[in-house]
Amino acid sequence: MSTATTPTAAEAELAVQARQAPVRSQGYWAGVFKRLRRDPVTIACAAILLLMLLAIVFAPLLAPHDPYQGSMIRRLRAIGTPNYLLGTDELGRDILTRLLYGGRLSWFMGIVPVAFAFVIGTTLGVTAGFMGGRVNMAIMRVTDVFYAFPSVLLAVAISGALGAGIFNAILSLTLVFVPQIIRVAESVTQGVRSLDFVDAARASGASGFTIVRVHVLGNVLGPIFVYATGLISVCMILSSGLSFLGLGTKPPEPEWGLMLNTLRTAIYVQPWVAVLPGACIFVTSICFNLLSDGLRQAMDVKG
């Protein structure tokens, strides 16, 4: 309420006092971090993800070879070959280098669609949940339609129709996740809307936009965010899956799903080299999943 009007002198003084006073009670986020610190699984996952992120960001410094430069005479070397630690692929390119570089696109395509869907889905879902009535009907009925497709099928359908390419893959994956986030955002918002402080804000003359900005968003963003972090794991599997089908990244660009696809022919020659990119997807995906579970528990989000 106070943010809608200019703060009175008393309020300003209170704010100054609050800044100077030593922190007595724990804030919400301090509690969350305290709980997270006591959760070894979540910490381990966060550490693994951080290491991977650093590795792919600094890929040019870490990678021993050129990711595109192949050679016909050293094709499909085994794991542990000197100078080629994780072997080489069907075109003689160093696997370790390509895994490092490939992580960039795989992470990008695993996170960006969820981020887009988070922004779009939250906007639409909060609007639907807060406005109710016809707006709610319109948004939620359209959502129902996209919900009527299994997510893999929807992603494959849209990507398949639009054709291969990173942009199309991101577009189709965003479309897959928007309805899911809308549903969560709508139900959380409806829960908050009926609470007393929203009525109080409205009674004191706050506009709908102000109520959403000040009172609703702070309460709904946490649960939606936790839900979205859980989607990153799914998104990574799906986007790599699209590349695996030839619908995402195009060769020679390194990407884990596409590497898995091109190495599939090598499965009888160097089976353990061929499955390495998938192991990277698996580790990333399971870490994001466990991290999301840990966040959910630490932030005490239900559902």
Partner: protein, 317 residues
């Protein structure tokens, strides 16, 4: 009750129509003229114009949708660009194979998930619980196409126990109930079952843990009921929800088996979709997606109806 069921069925109709519209739009959003989805690119211009008029592609979009819909409801999904055969003819045998795989996988996933989830929910917080929850998280996080490749590496390449590809000996795509066919089914089924296994484990664990906390369980224990007696009570309470999850999983697997089918060259809808994408055969793509999506809509409806009928606690006006 009957009113609710009737309303639920009526409510499914607009959803089905809208799903049809999305499938119709797939060809529209595809880059290039939709006419390219019907005639080969090297056709002469006058033939193209003729076909455009015959198919009504010169008419406004809503009219086109109506025309398309009137054909689809009588089972005319158009012809494949690659083979020239009716889409439905290829689709029919593919659906059988996909159904077969999806049924086996969701069945296996359901049984394993119920065992793991039941144990985890009963002994909450124990080592069994942690193990089962870990398996469940791994099950939903694993890229199943990769798991399929690992399976092939272990059981086909290294051990040479099971075939790596196809649905039957010599690349046959017709199913038969003999040992050779069953051997081909094993790896794809296990691979595809990890997703429903993970999800069912999580769900059943939650349901069972909630039921075990309820007072009537304490009351049953107090009056001296045996463990197996209590077990039956838990099963009866947990069954409707678990079955609903399992029903939906069957639908997800029907749509989601494309990646696993690609890995194992399983001659189902997924492989059909894959080759349609590869050859940009839009009628096949559209037809397959439409049928799979409709199947999912119908399954959703069925699950809802069965759940309402089975579970007297669900009272829906």
């Amino acid at each position: 009750m009957i009113l609710y069921l009737a309303r639920r069925i009526v409510y499914a109709i607009p959803i089905a129509l809208a799903v049809g519209f999305v499938c119709f739009m797939l060809v529209q959003i595809a880059p290039g003229d939709p006419i390219n989805a019907i005639v080969p690119p090297d056709a002469p211009a006058d033939v193209v114009e003729q076909v455009r008029r015959d198919y009504g592609l010169d008419k406004p979009l809503p009219v086109q949708f109506g025309l398309w819909l009137s054909k689809v409801v009588v089972g005319d999904l158009g012809r494949s660009l690659a083979t020239g055969r009716p889409v439905w003819a290829d689709l029919r045998s593919a659906i059988g194979n996909t159904l077969m795989l999806a049924f086996c996988a969701s069945g296996l996933g359901f049984v394993l998930g119920c065992i793991l989830g039941g144990l985890a929910g009963t002994f909450r917080g124990s080592a069994i619980d942690r193990g089962a929850t870990g398996i469940a998280v791994a099950g939903v996080s694993v890229p199943h196409y990769w798991l399929g490749m690992v399976m092939v590496v272990i059981f086909s390449v290294q051990l040479n126990w099971l075939p790596a590809m196809g649905a039957g000996p010599g690349g046959s795509s017709d199913w038969g109930w003999d040992w050779e066919h069953i051997k081909h089914l094993v790896l794809p089924t296990i691979t595809l079952s990890v997703i429903p296994m993970g999800i069912v484990t999580r769900t059943v664990r939650g349901i069972v843990a909630e039921i075990m906390n309820q007072e009537f369980i304490t009351a049953l224990r107090g009056k001296g009921m045996t463990r197996s007696g209590i077990f039956l009570h838990v099963v009866k309470n947990a069954a409707p929800n678990a079955l609903a999850v399992m029903g939906l999983q069957l639908g997800y697997l029907m749509g989601g088996s494309i990646l696993v089918e690609t890995v194992f060259s399983w001659p189902g809808t997924g492989l059909l979709l894959n080759s349609a994408i590869f050859q940009r055969d839009l009628p096949v793509l559209q037809g397959t997606i439409l049928v799979l999506a409709m199947f999912f809509v119908a399954l959703n409806l069925l699950v809802d109806l069965v759940q309402t009928t089975l579970d007297p606690r669900i009272k829906r006006a």
